[in-house]
Symmetry: C2
Subunit: 139 residues, 2 copies
DNA sequence: TATTGTTATACTCTATAACTATA
DNA sequence: TATAGTTATAGAGTATAACAATA
């Protein structure tokens, strides 16, 4: 790992693989940023517009528009915050939850189908590296 | 690799790592798509508009606009094709080459700094998996 | 006629600035 | 006054449709 070439090519391969994984959605009616917000609401529960814009590193007007699109699609709902009349609480709907689950299934299926093309040795190598990749992602 | 859990978590880790890599934009003055075209010209030499649009999976008008931006920035130049008067050959300039090298170095820096946090054993494991990840990304 | 590149136009996602309602 | 959300407007990037030049 003393060479510069290996990190460079590994970085490109990881970004390219992630790009292909991201393309596997339940359908093409929803953008990447919309999908990201929907997944966040699914995993972490309700958020305000401000919390979402901060978490997704987007401006409040942009997040407002993203939430508008998801609301029109029926995947999220706006509600009043009990403690503060200025805040808007965004929650995921049943349809939104189902969409997230379908998308995750599809991405997993695509990834598994690719893994099945590898040799047993390659899968063993990748399996050993999985924990390292997790650590890199969380470091 | 017969379990579903491992592909699922590996997939999430790869997507999360890619998301963090993508966030390391430094102070770039050109977009991702422009950078991608510039890198292609740098590594693979001159291409026509049609070749670029096909390779980047974008429509010809979009690629035309991307090339316009790069040309205005002084990073590429248009030239006539000797064999076919309809074609336009796009080549990278010296300034474009330098920009690619500097930008890629900046983007690699973050990744290298993360790799340096790993143990030697972890780096060896990851190094062995790099070719498998490349194959996955290109499969 | 078919192909290559370009122009015209529109839609999406992002941003900044200004506005409304509430604290 | 300050904050949370929204609206107005503009700048990239992408797309389809139509056009010009060349094969």
């Amino acid at each position: 790992m003393s060479e510069e070439v290996i990190p460079h090519e590994l970085r490109l391969a990881i970004m390219r693989l992630a790009r292909r994984l991201r393309a596997q959605k339940a359908d093409d009616t929803i953008s990447d940023s919309q999908m990201s917000v929907l997944a966040k609401l699914h995993h972490e529960g309700a958020h305000t517009i401000g919390q979402l814009s901060e978490g997704e590193k987007v401006t409040p007007p942009s997040m407002n528009r993203t939430v508008n699109s998801l609301e029109t699609a029926g995947y999220v709902a706006r509600g009043a915050a009990p403690d503060d009349g200025r805040k808007v609480v965004v929650t995921i709907t049943a349809a939104g939850t189902e969409f997230v689950q379908q998308t995750q299934s599809r991405r997993d299926a695509w990834f598994v189908s690719r893994l099945e093309q590898l040799t047993p040795d390659q899968r063993t190598t990748l399996d050993a590296a999985a924990s390292v990749i997790r650590e890199l992602a969380d470091s």
